[in-house]
Subunit: 454 residues, 2 copies
Amino acid sequence: MKPKKFLLPESEIPTAWFNMQAVMPNKPLPILNPATREPLKPEDLYPIFCKASADQELNTTDEWIPIPEEVRQQYASYRCTPLVRAYDFEKALGTPAHIYFKNESVSPSGSHKLNSALAQAYYAKEQGITNLTTETGAGQWGGSLSYATKKFGIDCAVYMVKVSYQQKPYRRSIMQTFGAAITPSPSMSTRAGKDIITKNPNDQGSLGCAISEAIELAINTPNCKYSLGSVLNHVCLHQTVIGLEAEKQMALAGEYPDIVIGCFGGGSNFSGIAFPFMRHNIRDGKKTRFIAAEPASCPKLTKGKFEYDFGDEAGMTPLLPMYTLGHTFKPASLHAGGLRYHGAGVVLSQLMKDGLMEAVDIEQLDSFSAGVLFARSEGIIPAPESCHAIAATVQEALKCKQTGEEKVILFNLSGHGFVDMSAYDSYFSGEMQNPKLTDEELSRFIKSADELNK
Amino acid sequence: MKPKKFLLPESEIPTAWFNMQAVMPNKPLPILNPATREPLKPEDLYPIFCKASADQELNTTDEWIPIPEEVRQQYASYRCTPLVRAYDFEKALGTPAHIYFKNESVSPSGSHKLNSALAQAYYAKEQGITNLTTETGAGQWGGSLSYATKKFGIDCAVYMVKVSYQQKPYRRSIMQTFGAAITPSPSMSTRAGKDIITKNPNDQGSLGCAISEAIELAINTPNCKYSLGSVLNHVCLHQTVIGLEAEKQMALAGEYPDIVIGCFGGGSNFSGIAFPFMRHNIRDGKKTRFIAAEPASCPKLTKGKFEYDFGDEAGMTPLLPMYTLGHTFKPASLHAGGLRYHGAGVVLSQLMKDGLMEAVDIEQLDSFSAGVLFARSEGIIPAPESCHAIAATVQEALKCKQTGEEKVILFNLSGHGFVDMSAYDSYFSGEMQNPKLTDEELSRFIKSADELNK
């Protein structure tokens, strides 16, 4: 029997995260205080984030950052996650390529998000924090932080975009099962929320508003900090356990990836699978291609501009040097809710600028077509976000079919789609469409960033 | 770091199923043709079931039945499943007991059901069958057979109880994603369905009717057979991979279970975890207790009678010697849809009669209370069915707390609850109740079996 899954024992859970900032050829530009335009220092972030997160965010020197033993112990409930050879998917595509995927869907919350949630909850606990706040759109991050805080005995308050709160009741129930307090946003519990509701009582919410509410609650509550699930450097750092394990598992399979693929929202799951392999391109002359699969309707890497911009719609965050569609960008309604973000993480943006990675735009219908073929072949129904990585894998595998090359492709299966079945319903019913984004809309949104860079 | 998961490589996937019928002290009474009252021969079952299934059903002599290599290859996509030590659950209960669970929720369909679905689909393919039919209530079995048939290139038609079809759209979508044709039952596609709809156009369906429709379609379609997901001996046989793996994994943990627990609907997941260990009670003087956890509102093992009865409501099946509540039993509405069956499998019933296993009744609210505590401790949201096994585990663990005994408890986590979150909602909202079953109702239903035994 040909081996299908490549497993590692718990003793092989990484003992340190890999910090790309210490290794990349060009360091990222500084993050700026929007008022003074001065580079941010870690202590500027302490009022909002846990100290450890803030320090890691701006750490450009330490290549390896030790993973606390308490976090590793919690990782052990689902890590090391399996690396799987997708034989039947290869067969369905008729490709000579060897396709592997790292299965992060086996985590308690059903996605890779827990890798950072556990770290952030642990650091909060260590610092004496008793409450964490966050926002969630699709609900993957909210579910992960709900579980992680429960494990470390911290209370968790999640602001969930109102339309998701109503349309994704299962995600809400998952957070509730893990013991979090969930508030539909906008809410009357914050000034930011009240202002919006006063203007429009029927406002359906946005990620931008939910972030504002979560930060406001954190700032105004004793022993409370705010926590974010993607984009930021320390979040990408925590996700490198994915690629570090995959590296060892690819060695068990006797192969090394020619192509590494991840879907791309803010960049955390892509960083997780890509960074550990990318260091070998930088140092050891490896020629692996790294492909970020983003939605065609939210194309920050292929059609965005590299500029200073806010991380949120309301402009409350520091100025980040990144590929952006403009902080006022309003992404089309998209089933892959986790990919609807206007910017790319700072480190990732610099790597993109330096040509160390590439990006591809995936149409929604193509993502589900690939996801269904994968489900029928490998038995895992992928999250709509992960379907983008699968669609990019299909593109590369079909190129191999044309050329006859036996390339080794590795993609990150960031999560399962058991709580996203209504999206599949929409696909099967023929009602699903490809969201449109016109050049006119694009240039109008990007102006909101342009103006900050004058 | 204390080891948490006990993993086995794919090479350790069992090569043979364990056939309890060959080992049990008293063989089961014969299954009877209801018309002639003659014991059934395998060939009597050939018109409905695949030949291999029918042969296995009545095989009382071969202790080990080889698992075809093609089935093992498919098992490899998720097996060997992890055995997990539930340290945090022990801590939450404050018990000195050592609690282990076998995690069958990691299968593509999210439950143990796939272990038999893959075997049955393979045998169908080998026999030249091109279509399988089945019924599904809660949807776990339908999803499993949908995936298994897809893997072996067979078409699958699922009759789904109409009320579930409407109330559990995610389960329906999962089956559709795996490529099955799903029909709400009663339907106009069979005589059985037409008769019911003609009488009552708004009939919401029942498992009994869905079984009748699936069998009717199988009998009237060339190259088509019917497939069942629990109760029958060959289904219990296929599930023994669970316990066979667990036996090796408990040895890795350096322990042997004092108590083995599984939830109980028709008996397939309980058989899977229990039978391999039970053979050591029969042969090697082990004293393990085997506890079947059934819903208090469907108490076939504790309050049913051991009698000959039909397996379905309409009385189309052979007469089975089993613990039964009567084939006309109408189980109360219960979130653990997979446990709403009136009878226990034939082999299991004989083992119960002979005192080799015991049973406990679990109230619905207690099952969810235990399930939520487990989710918050171990990070896996259990299926409502599995919550019953967890509640029985809690009972035994709390006894250990009182006595101070460090008993080793092993339970089967038959599936996850990601698609059952509405049940958790009902629990959290306070709307959930314990379904009632009166003595009067009980004796009225049991009469339908009594009359067959006069």
